[in-house]
Each structure stands twice: as structure tokens, then as C-alpha cells.
């Protein structure tokens, strides 16, 4: 599999993301935000974490207008798979490729810790290697991870199995971490080819670092 990893001014998870996909046996290519096209023959675009444009105005609000995002939008509209992690999730919501928005955490803190997540839906190209109801331990690190969507939008998410992950305890019961609507940690679009989550699976690949659950998540794209 060939993976394009985007890079904006202020991105800081691009090398971790490359490491993750290369560890899984894939080739990766960094793509600078000023590029107007994506590399040919790619199987996945990853918008990695960081603080693109210093999070000025709103997280992701400036990055979404980068030239490369036009290419990502048409790639996604043609059915191409896109994964946004943390700041990447914020960029994809700002770009309108994913529903909802990410607000400042309810307690206003930057939260950085390992967090249990419950797999809510796995009938998609991302979490197909995970079981429904399975609990994964994945690091989170964000200040603006408080997922908001209005009631009508939430109803659509639920009906179409678009809620991917919820923050949970070790038994899979939802817990309040940052104030997200129903503890949502990740969602996908209606066509299930664009995915976004606040947690960092690329940081959960080595037992010595506390968890290897990220491997199973990222493996899904190649299944």
C-alpha cells in the first residue's frame, strides 16, 4: 500500500505516521501543503497531527485552504480513503469532509494521556480488524477535541454507523474526557471513505511505549 502523509507548517506527527505505516510494510510519501496534486497510485491519504498554522483562528481553519486540500477533497469525493488524526481530524471537519466540529475541551486543559476507547462500528475500511465493543488503549493529546454535532446530525451519524469510537473505561462504558457529544472520539463520513479521530494510533505501536493497539487499527486499511 502507498500512503501519502500531508505536511503543513506546524504539523508534528508526520514522521510518527510514516514510521507507523512503514512498520506495517507500506511505502509512504510526505506531501507538502503547497502541492496541488497528490502522488499517483496512492491507496490512502493521512492528515497527521500537530498544530497547523499555530491553530490560529480555529484549529485546522487555515490549513483547510491549502492547495493540497483541494486535491484531497477531489480524491475523497472520488472515493479515495482519507484518515485524519487529531489536528488532521480538525482539518477534515473544517474542510467539510467530515460532519461536526471540534471545540475547546470542556475543562479548557490540554489533555495528554493514554485513554481507553470503545469500538462502536467496524463495518468500514478503517476499524475492520477490531471487534465491536472492543476496548483499545490509545494515547490522546489535544486541547480542541470536544466533538460537537447538532441533534439532527447526530441522529444521522447513529443511523448510518458513522460513530467509530467513544472514550470509555476499561469495560467499554463511555466516559467524559473532553465534553464530546456522547463521548465521541472518532467518526467517518456517510460514504465511509473519510475517517477522523482525536486519539493517536501511530503512537501505540510498541509495547515499551505502553500499547500496541494502534497496529490493529491502522492494519484495517490494508485488509
Amino acid at each position: 500500500m502507498k500512503v501519502a502523509v500531508l505536511r503543513f507548517p506546524g504539523t508534528n506527527c508526520e514522521f510518527d505516521t510514516q514510521y507507523a505505516f512503514e512498520k506495517l510494510g507500506h511505502t509512504t510519501q510526505l506531501v507538502w501543503h503547497e502541492k496541488e496534486t497528490l502522488p499517483s497510485d496512492i491507496d490512502l491519504v493521512v492528515v497527521p497531527g500537530g498544530f497547523s498554522y499555530g491553530d490560529y483562528l480555529r484549529s485546522g481553519s487555515i490549513a483547510r485552504f491549502s492547495p493540497v486540500m483541494k486535491a484531497v477533497t477531489s480524491y475523497a469525493n472520488d472515493g479515495g480513503k482519507v484518515l485524519g488524526i487529531c489536528n488532521g481530524f480538525q482539518i477534515l471537519t473544517e474542510a467539510g469532509l467530515l460532519p461536526g466540529a471540534l471545540k475547546r475541551n470542556n475543562d479548557l486543559h490540554f489533555i495528554s494521556k493514554h485513554q481507553n476507547l470503545c469500538v462502536i462500528n467496524n463495518d468500514n475500511a478503517f476499524l475492520n480488524q477490531c471487534q465491536k465493543g472492543e476496548v483499545l488503549n490509545i494515547p490522546i493529546a489535544h486541547a480542541d477535541g470536544n466533538y460537537y454535532i447538532d441533534d439532527a446530525g447526530f441522529k444521522k451519524l447513529e443511523e448510518n454507523n458513522q460513530v467509530l469510537l467513544r472514550y470509555s473505561d476499561s469495560k467499554g462504558k463511555p466516559v467524559v474526557v473532553n465534553g464530546s457529544v456522547t463521548s465521541i472520539a472518532g467518526v467517518c463520513n456517510e460514504n465511509k471513505n473519510v475517517f477522523g479521530l482525536m486519539p493517536h494510533p501511530e503512537r501505540a505501536l510498541e509495547a515499551i511505549l505502553g500499547s500496541v493497539d494502534g497496529i490493529r487499527m491502522l492494519k484495517g486499511f490494508d485488509a
Partner: protein
């Protein structure tokens, strides 16, 4: 011309910063505060002297970039 844009979270969308400031005001003894909302103010200098044109342009700026209308409302004042 100058446009002053105030952007704030929509009614019904919890404003964590406003809530924290409200709580702090309560702790300081300022009674009778029923709600606090915190937003941001964006001041834009425009070349045009045509108010109608300026309003339309700033509205487009808000819809495109300055506000995320999924969670935010905005008010435009033009002088």
C-alpha cells in the same frame, strides 16, 4: 471602511471559556451574572467606501473562513 466582526459560539453550544469566567465571577462575589459568553473580535480594514458592498464581502469572509457556522454565529458592524 472598517468592519468589526464578533464571532461567538451558537446559543445552545456549551462555551467552556464563558462557563469558566462565569464561575470565576461568581467566586469573586459578582452577583446577578446569568450568563457569560466569550468570543473573538476580528477588525478588518476595507478599501471600499460602499457599505452594501462591504457588508456582502465581510459576510462572505465570515461564511468562508472567519466563523465555523457549525458551531459559531457572527455579527458584523461596519463604520
Amino acid at each position: 471602511m472598517q468592519a468589526v466582526v464578533n464571532v461567538f459560539l451558537k446559543e445552545g453550544v456549551l462555551d467552556p471559556q464563558g462557563k469558566a469566567a462565569h464561575h470565576a465571577l461568581d467566586s469573586l462575589g459578582f452577583a446577578g451574572v446569568s450568563d457569560v459568553r466569550i468570543g473573538k473580535q476580528i477588525i478588518i480594514q476595507l478599501d471600499t467606501e460602499d457599505k452594501t458592498k462591504a457588508e456582502a464581502e465581510v459576510k462572505e469572509m465570515c461564511e468562508t473562513l472567519l466563523a465555523n457556522t457549525v458551531i459559531e454565529d457572527y455579527i458584523i458592524e461596519i463604520d
